[in-house]
């Protein structure tokens, strides 16, 4: 995989450029739903994706990964901030422009059940995009659908079955085929292999890598499986409570991560050894809620290394060590 481009040359080369993004939801709280509250699911987030990047996005459940992905394809409300795709703003697109974005940027949903119409055949589901975007016609649609289905491990026997007739992992692969057949430039994969056993997962990951090289695709790869992220990505981003807290080349992050939260994440890697001692640093403190994020560092209430300054002063995502592409939002980072 290619060397990560220089993070500070962002202006020119970025395929996707996100600046100070906020996605807030207004909800009613309390048993009687009497209070109005704001969920800050994405909070002042910055991110650059370069052509050919496989950017692994990791972070605790509820930290805003899915919401970020949905915002990019216009499925979550952007409260403030900027999302640019190839230099052009894609916030609030409508009509023709939104339709074009739909081919260029594909989102593979975290929940493969809800995203497939149960009463449609696999052939219809996967072929629809080709038809709508005039990428193929007539018999060619079926041919391309079959070719893609075969690459994700199905055969012609599966073409005319209905989506509800498939198992969890099979549906996940149908969703993948549906997105990949369109050859989008950017694919947001939200836990794309979470329902797959290791052997099928390996097959799918290899396929994703192959296609990525073949067409120089760019992936935003959301996963809580660090093994998979490490295998797939050239860059990694760690989110916490709606913000990006560390980004850098995969090798740099695994060699020397700088943010205390990333250290906790990496400490809890699973092992196949049943005798291994109970794994991981369990975090102290309450799970964070994005309803009322703390004023200073978002991690401060649970950070084992927090000092006074952390509670009042929010650290910026910037270079802390020697590597210019390695950015960390922490006042007291772990440097080599």
């Amino acid at each position: 995989m290619n060397v990560p481009p220089h993070e500070t040359t962002v202006q020119s080369g970025a395929l996707l450029r996100i600046r100070d993004l906020h996605v807030h939801f207004h909800i009613k709280e309390g048993v009687l739903r009497q209070h109005q509250a704001t969920v800050k699911a994405v909070n002042a987030l910055n991110l650059d994706l370069f052509p050919g990047d496989v950017f692994g996005l990791v972070g605790e459940s509820g930290c805003g990964k899915t919401t970020l992905g949905r915002a990019v394809v216009g499925l979550a409300p952007v409260t403030a901030g900027e999302i640019r795709f190839k230099g052009r703003s894609i916030v609030g697109l409508e009509g023709r422009a939104a339709f074009e974005r739909a081919r260029a940027i594909q989102l593979i949903f975290q929940d493969p059940y809800a995203s497939l119409h149960p009463r449609k055949t696999v052939c219809d589901l996967v072929g629809l995009g080709l038809k709508l975007h005039h990428l193929a016609e007539g018999y060619e649609i079926d041919e391309r659908v079959l070719a893609m289905l075969e690459r994700v491990g199905f055969s012609i026997d599966h073409m005319y079955r209905y989506a509800h007739e498939f198992s969890g992992g099979q549906r996940q692969r149908i969703a993948l085929a549906r997105a990949l057949v369109l050859h989008p430039e950017l694919i947001i994969l939200d836990e794309p292999t979470s329902a797959l056993d290791v052997s099928v997962q390996a097959q799918i990951l290899n396929l994703l890598k192959e296609l990525q090289r073949e067409f120089n695709l760019t992936y935003l790869f959301i996963s809580h499986d660090l093994g998979v992220v490490r295998y797939m990505s050239n860059r990694i981003g760690v989110m916490y409570l709606g913000s990006m807290v560390e980004t850098g080349a995969t090798a740099d992050i695994f060699r020397q991560c700088q943010h205390p939260y990333t250290r906790v994440l990496l400490s809890s890697l699973p092992s196949l050894d049943p005798d291994a001692p109970h794994r991981g640093i369990l975090l102290e403190g309450d799970p964070p809620t994005p309803v009322d994020p703390p004023p200073g560092c978002p991690f401060a209430p649970r950070c084992p290394e927090a000092r006074d300054r952390c509670h009042v002063d929010k650290p910026a995502l910037e270079q802390r060590g020697d590597t210019p592409t390695h950015l960390t939002a922490c006042h007291f980072p772990h440097l080599a």
Partner: protein, 320 residues
Amino acid sequence: MTEDTILEIKNLHVRFPIHIGTVRAVDDVSLAIRRGEVMGLVGESGCGKSTLGFSILRLLRPPGEIAAGKILYNGRDVVTMSERELLAFRGRQVSMIFQDPLTSLNPLFRVGDQFVEAIRTHEPRVKPKEAWARAEKTLQHLGIAPERLAEYPHQMSGGMRQRIMIGMGLVLHPGLLIADEPTTALDVIVEAQFLDLLNRLREQFNLTILLISHNLGIVAQMADRVTVMYGGRIVESGPALAVFDNPRHPYTQGLLASIPNIKLDQPELKTMPGAPPDLVAPPPGCVFAPRCPQVMEKCREKRPLEFNLSGMRVACWLYA
């Protein structure tokens, strides 16, 4: 049936008649689960794990049907239970954490209300407020703040919804919990919390668990015994240590070889050549034969018998 067997499945056949034929999703499966143990169930996508789980609760999606076999829970056959008996049985005796939270939760009701409903169906005397509080307590162990119970499923993240499903499966303290891919949306930290909670419930209530998961790491960590399915059939079963350290069936061997190793920078992941069998027209003889590196002539003709190898069951002609 021995004294400590909580669930015994005997020669179970489950089919889905569809327009192009009949899917043999579970094909002559026999399995016994001991009281208090964690039985891991692993196998390729589409091999019939969820179908087996659903059958135990008689919750097969249409057009699924149990064509033959027995499912004995504490000696009572679930297959012949009436709808009325099933209502009392489900959730209370045996509960299931479903693989697909979004379609299993009702989008129109607040999460807390769905707990109250589930609890009060089985314990009508519990006041709604008490039921709500019980739900809060269960979910707190899973890192979900109490105020989130007032939200609707679509307002939650994927991992939260999965924890709601977990909570629903645990809140009635069932005798047997079927956990179908319970950690797919959980990060490692929450996953560790969940496994902790399961261990505590095992100690407190002698909970028995059928853990369906493709995450071999957690199966290795949790399971006392492991059963491996392939193409609707059980191909190998035995103590977890033995299965992981010394897998006998060629499919299990291939499966274990394809685990990505986080400590290595692998250029390419190992995969198993070939595709899973089509369960509408499974190959004659051994279902794994078309992909098996050690296939013999006999394998293509005769379905392998099950052989006993020092405490392990293996369905493969290599051990004849």
